[in-house]
Symmetry: C2
Subunit: 142 residues, 2 copies
DNA sequence: TACAAAAATGTAATGATTACAATATTATAT
DNA sequence: ATATAATATTGTAATCATTACATTTTTGTA
């Protein structure tokens, strides 16, 4: 456990989120899980812990976390949303072969077109898709 | 019309796509449409032109176009895929207020983590989200 | 013109997400 | 501690995008 229950409680309170048991568990799951889980993955794992959990609650909680700036959605072009805790700016690399997702850091220089001068950028999402070196090595050794 | 029917026929044939009436119309739609349409938008507009069109055909055609490298999917984090013709590398900016989508050029330096050395990148998607200057000006003038 | 291959269609199924009303839990004032 | 109001959670049904698949239509070729 990266954060103790007390730490998570504080994090939620600081964002004006009532630190219910469910929300603490969902936050904790995201803090431990580095694979950008879908709602289904979160639900399937957490419902083992407390069988009364509802998938709707997972949706509601994530929506709230996003509104309060704790969580970001991650979209890997596979028809389902994924979620991660907001942390320092990074992009994602998805291996098309093994489906693994990697966090990557990247420097970006944006040239906004003239019609966009003065625009405010609140958020960004960078996704690279390819074949990871692990999978390339396996291919070569066949 | 940016491309004549003959030009589109040639483009499709060059990619080994049989240039059927339907495919030509879908390609033509993407060539004219700069707003990264969804399947629904393509279907609604084209079915006016030939009412026998089926939405499944739109899906099938786009899938084929993507396989042949003519089309890319664009995901704006709104639970539906969008499509655009493959053209020179660019990202997208979505205005959260007016929902307008802009194409943007950007320079990107990627620092792949050590575990990703040797990785092959086939494709990338860059999405910025914010408020466009038009919407900011409207806000200010209130 | 006939026939085989390919394209298009229409319906039903799937899967993610949302809407919403009902229930349970929590926080607050007394 | 208790009552009450506010909030959180739940479960079901609805919605919407996408896919599967069998059937029909169109196309290309002999």
């Amino acid at each position: 456990m990266i954060n103790t229950q007390e730490q998570i409680t504080k994090i939620l309170k600081d964002k004006e989120i009532a630190p219910s048991y469910t929300r603490i568990k969902i936050y904790d799951y995201l803090a431990k899980d580095k694979i950008h889980p879908t709602v289904d993955e979160i639900f399937i794992d957490l419902v083992k812990l407390f069988p009364t959990l509802s998938k709707t609650t997972v949706y509601n909680s994530l929506k709230l976390f996003i509104e309060k700036g704790l969580v970001r959605s991650v979209n890997l072009h596979d028809n389902k949303m994924r979620y991660e805790l907001v942390r320092s700016s990074h992009g994602h690399f998805k291996c098309d072969t093994c489906s693994k997702i990697y966090d990557i850091t990247m420097e970006i220089n944006i040239n906004l077109p003239k019609e966009l001068e003065g625009t405010i950028i609140d958020d960004y999402h960078h996704l690279l898709i390819g074949t990871c070196s692990n999978c390339l090595n396996k291919e070569n050794s066949n």
